[in-house]
Symmetry: D2
Subunit: 345 residues, 4 copies
């Protein structure tokens, strides 16, 4: 950590800063420049990360050097983590597809969609039972009935399942029914929820918030890891941007960026990132080419009747086509498309 002092800082102020640094158990190393004086802080930076050194009179700026996360960092774990979700693998050369409707609407509909995506190569079935809707008047999900249907349909097709949890009171319930718990973008900094899912060993799909930096995303992963749950898969799903022609901006650079900083796998969700079926296949391939460890795509067999996010769903045949292209690209990159154990392909 480096403390940059203001022009005109007094000797008393400098002494006070040094004293404060030393009172926190670190050493201070003064360096007087032509225009400015700086203090190098030597010792465990994370010990002082929370100390408001910038508030000390005479301090212009505090420049951290180490990242504020530990368990999520690649320094702590140089090899890529491989996360196992009911036999389907993410990371370390394994790539998996998560597919299914935005919301679980009925057993029949989910069954038809599951059969199609399973056949096309999807590893994990998704479907929302609790839906975060901008409007209080919109369909909010089937709740526990939805969880039950998801579990049954997943079992029938031999697919692990993932669904979103929004409420810390329902983490245990959701964990009982599913193989992977999703934290949605709007809850990426719902710290109570992160803490709660950290208490289980169930894999977590952690989506990047719409205004979260890559560092923010890794800090949220750190919340989960620090509770004892190492099974986190990150997900890039678009950040806020100024161009109304897409729902969000698909930040594909987050994939190599996270891979450089962290050992955790990261997948991409072009459905939410773009909100446009015509852009989803190209962005899915872009994500895989950038090194993503998986792709999350919403699929519906009758988008115009979908109870949530219909306009952004791919049809099963569109999904089959992009899945085929992803498989070919994965092969070129020397990666394996992971499917559930016992699956024919």
């Amino acid at each position: 950590m480096i403390i940059v002092l203001k022009a005109g800082v007094t000797t008393e102020q400098i002494d006070h800063v040094i004293q404060r640094v030393e009172s926190l158990g670190l050493r201070a190393h003064l360096s007087r420049g032509t225009y400015r004086t700086i203090i190098g802080v030597i010792g465990d930076e994370q010990q002082v990360a929370a100390a408001p050194l910038e508030a000390i009179p005479g301090v212009a700026e505090v420049v951290p050097i180490l990242p504020p996360y530990k368990l999520a960092s690649r320094d702590a774990h140089p090899e890529p983590s491989v996360i196992d979700v009911g036999g389907v693998l993410f990371g370390g050369g394994h790539l998996a597809l998560i597919a299914g409707p935005c919301a679980v609407e009925s057993a029949e509909r989910l069954d038809a969609i599951a059969a199609a995506v399973r056949q096309a190569g999807a590893g994990i079935l998704r479907g929302g039972a609790f839906k975060p809707r901008t409007s209080p008047y919109a369909f909010q999900g089937l709740a526990e009935d939805g969880l039950r249907i998801l579990r049954q349909v997943g079992d029938k097709h031999g697919m692990p399942v993932v669904t979103e949890v929004m409420d810390p009171r329902r983490v245990e319930l959701v964990a009982e029914y599913t193989d992977m718990i999703q934290i949605g973008a709007r809850n990426m900094q719902n710290f109570n929820l992160l803490t709660e899912v950290g208490r289980f060993q169930k894999p977590v799909l952690l989506k990047r918030g719409m205004s979260a930096t890559v560092e923010d995303l890794l800090m949220s992963a750190e919340y989960i890891l620090s509770q004892g749950n190492p099974n986190v898969v990150l997900c890039e799903r678009g950040v806020k941007g100024f161009d109304p022609s897409t729902r969000n901006v698909f930040d594909v650079s987050a994939v190599p960026n996270c891979h450089g900083l962290s050992h955790l796998p990261i997948i991409v969700d072009p459905s939410h990132a773009t909100g446009r079926p015509d852009l989803i296949p190209a962005c899915a391939l872009a994500g895989v080419a950038a090194g993503a460890d998986g792709v999350h795509i919403e699929v519906h067999n009758c988008p115009e009747e979908a109870l949530s996010d219909g306009p952004q769903a791919l049809l099963p045949e569109q999904f089959a086509q992009v899945a085929e292209q992803i498989r070919a690209l994965a092969t070129l990159l020397g990666k394996t498309l992971s499917v559930p154990p016992g699956a024919s392909r």
Copy 2:
């Protein structure tokens, strides 16, 4: 609602769209242009807001005309709402100051700060007991002990108090101890939490999310209102931007923008919007000049020892100065600075 059809749409597709609109209980009004055909949807637009009409083959775009919120809209309630928090008023010509430290740290420290801000003209005392911290290793707040201290200090100085709630399981607890419940920016779309605070009559301070549009903010207010709690005060506290020189971008235009669309009062929080004490006074005055119904400012008597957000706090004497300027500006605008009943000024 207007449905714009794609170039080359077929008659069958048009018929299908019309049929779908009518099946939802509305009327369709076809209008063929030179290049494009459009369908005007006549009836209660909110009935079909959730129907994924964009997913119907042949549909290019769906243009809503009415806002998706009802109870929060000015159409529903043409007069500005006046929200009463323990005798301190927001809205309709009343302006109030909320001040206090980021976190409740100890009874002694809070007492000293409360005495100072009360004296300077603050109407409501703030202090966090549950803190949403980016890092799991940072100070998380004193929890119920913090609530107890906040209540005691508020009572001693005759000030209503406000604190943040992050977890739906603690809404009842927080409501017991405080006069106003704050929903923080990171939880603006934590819909379970919104629903929960909507079940009480306790006033809610709803902060705008960092990537929330003004419409998103009003939709979140609608969640609370639709549960039966009409006491919502909105708060502009900065949105994400690209300039690292400020923590966020203080979107002062949200003040007149919300006033045009909604009857709810809106205050500004220049502390979180800028993250820089040197910019807070100017931005506080800007907010009031733009019509804000209050100002929220973090104050600490020893920022360098603050356990949270110290570097952005004003000192009590800085707060007193800006409070004085706000009072003068309010007078110029024909507004009243609201203080607790029994207060000398």
Copy 3:
């Protein structure tokens, strides 16, 4: 075009709007809904695009239906355009690599870099002679000397060359020396410059501005096309974002987005989009996987001595590696990597 009227609009106001529409040579089609009245405008929308209909009393909103560009649109030219730059092709299944240093620094250095990138498969040599520098104190380029060196080195290695022009007074000069003229991001809406390059037939590399929507980019292309120059290659090079960990946000979705709206080829520039050599290869591949018609990468053989943007340059051996990966990916996608006529590979 659809004109949405305000609630409470009077009959006189409606008549006035209709009259105004008709005075512009179009027909108006009134449609009264339950809550709002709308007017469909029938005829050539582009005729009225510039008329400030939103300023007419009683008008709430004007919703355009057709895109505001004509010549750049896919409607006008359904097949993808193939742009030929000295025998190197962009678009319609042809993919080309543009490589070279940020700035032309000396004949020797450029010669060494050109030999390396040519060998690795680059089709076109780049190098700046006029540099847009944020600081007036930074190296501004070698001007005409730089153009001369670029031409000589390009000729020696049998490579067409591209360089940026910033000043309308120098378009003719730049056109004399080069095979392709670059309009940089900061000048994407320098309309005088666009008009000037539109007067030549020389291919133009038009970079997307940092705060330009895809529609803005296509409107700037329209400026060039409307002057009679059809040879425009678009370039996605990152838009402004809030995460300081990358220089810009690489909006890879712009590639399929532009392909859907326009016949013009679009390439990607991961060097400027990310500003980080460690992210460039992954983003280059992402762009190609998304359908890009080329890739632009800055290469320098001694980045620490570069006079401009050294920290973001790839070394020649890093470029050779990513070029090889791009070639393999292009083959998988059924595309051809275009190299100059006479090149061995």
Copy 4:
């Protein structure tokens, strides 16, 4: 300047960095921490600002300490600059209003508008003769005829005039006709244009680019100042944001932010910042309350017939009202509304 080295940096690499720093005429001060080693660079930082130290192997990050602008900084000129535009003053307690139509359309129309805004308290008349239009098919301005009309109407009403220049070839022409030259947001980083206007002593109104940081804005001012023209007035006119309900985000914090960093006056332009007449008055007052040295507002007497940006213009009577409020606010703040010499008020 501080150079942070990578973990695992070798002694040879450290020596190479130090050698490089010393070869640039500066001294290096090594400081080994527990986890990282840093090098403090002592001497004139601006000498090495352009050296790509980040590209040296072993370097993780380079942290500048001094701002990259000199002439624009408050360090260089502690007192606020007062800029005189034909007797109308900006800065140092003087506040002026710039008003007029987006474009000069005809002598009659401009005359009527000028009379009205002059009467209401405007100090300077604006009107575009060269218009930067997104569409090549939109009205581009009356060119020199527009300049002539602007000059004549300004003279008739005793008002200095300002107009935009977009092309370096026309700076001299524009300077002949006007009292102040405007650089528009789209040209804030058109460095040739900045250099050109820097060669005259004519005051420059420099608008902030839509994706420019405050530092970028000050660097563009530095271009002008470094050519010898000290007469620069900055202008905040909104930055790109994600909420489509306003044209841009009005970043009012830029006013105190610039005042802290620079001696140059800064005004606000709520017309372009919001694009909405209903928000302009509140934002104008917000800007003045935040300390702005002036306000720029577009005014038109028949917005529905305006040839450019009609929907965002205020009517003369709306302008008169906000001008009156600004005057009252300026008085409260102890500032003077500056009007042309000889004006009655």
